[in-house]
Amino acid sequence: MVMFKAAFVREWRLLARQKADWLNPLMFFVIVLTLFPLGVGAKPNLLAEIAPGIVWIAALLSVLLGAERLFKEDFRQGTLEQLVAARDPLFPYVLAKISSSWCSTALPLLLISPLIALLLGLSTAAWQAIVLSLLLGTPLLNLLAALGAALTLSADKGGILLALLILPLYIPLLIFASAAVDNATLGLDYSAQLAVLAAMLCLAAALVPLAVLKALRLNVG
């Protein structure tokens, strides 16, 4: 617990000093979403119809954008090596990394979602569904992105490899999350989709940190 707190505080200090790390993915998200209304033209109905997919794809890519840096710096500086040698602190370190990456990349998306809803002409019901699905889905995005980052750690140009590795794993998430928002725009019940998202999140939260741990050990050894 002490180690989790220390690693979490350290992450926040780093994020405060390297603002590009969390601002860039956020800007990317906003810009992609503003491009769509411009490209599609003034067709509010069409926009509202394709909005769920757009929001989710933009969220997914922006989380992926922030993922590569996750362990890279500590790997280069030798911090990771020392943590692996010390064994015990590695697991709280991984948990702190994942949770702080959610706070820095996914939480801002949630906070600006009202703006997004306005931009894409979404109804309040659809916006609520987007918030709920993002709330359940983005931790899953961060978990899988952390796994990809850990696996591609020692690869030289890991960015594209990371995307190729992780994007297929995002497919089920994308399907259920946009289905939930779709249902909401049609005024239907979407609790089933949210339940599936929650189940996927539980499974990933239980297994992914262990896989990340193993991947980090492999890459350092």
Partner: protein, 220 residues
Amino acid sequence: MAVSLVSTNLLTAFALCCVRQDRVLFDAVDLELAAGELLHISGKNGAGKSSLLRILAGLATPDEGQVLWCGKPLSDPSSNSTSQSDFASSLCYIGHLSGVQPQLTALENLEFWQAAFALKNTDYYAVLATLGLAGLEDIPCQMMSAGQQRRVSLARLWLTQAKLWILDEPFTALDQGAIKLLQQRFKQHLEQGGAIILTTHQAMEQQFPQSRTLELVYRW
């Protein structure tokens, strides 16, 4: 004296072999380290010194052979994890990468290590002052020179309670004063019953009569 030391071996390794890219770096390396001893691993560039240290620190597994901590095997997957975490908590490993996060200040780095490595001593200001970093506690480490960054990373040695230190080229980038300081700290640690394994191109024998040298021969 020598006979009594044999029974108190902290770290034992036998028949270690390491293969990198189809090249045998070393094989049949045996070593023993008792409390109060310093093992100096020497050899040319590329002889496998760092690889040997990584194996001894448990970061890499040897292609052959075994490492024992207090008589219990470490690399064996069937061995219980308590002996492994016992080893990890008695170890202070500083590789040729310093582990200093350049965006953070010296104090912030030390605070993180304190939590990560359960350092008992938390008198950061005193330790940093000893290392000639007084007044630099609150500036990001990237503003410091290479030698000063190395001093920050070595500050861990003044805070740790670990018995076994494994250090890869600890004297890199340090000036004469800092080298003396570090050697004094080594002596203190050895007198308190600690053990040190290090690689360096400095001569250690005159300073440390209790040291032994293991020479790795460069092979192709």
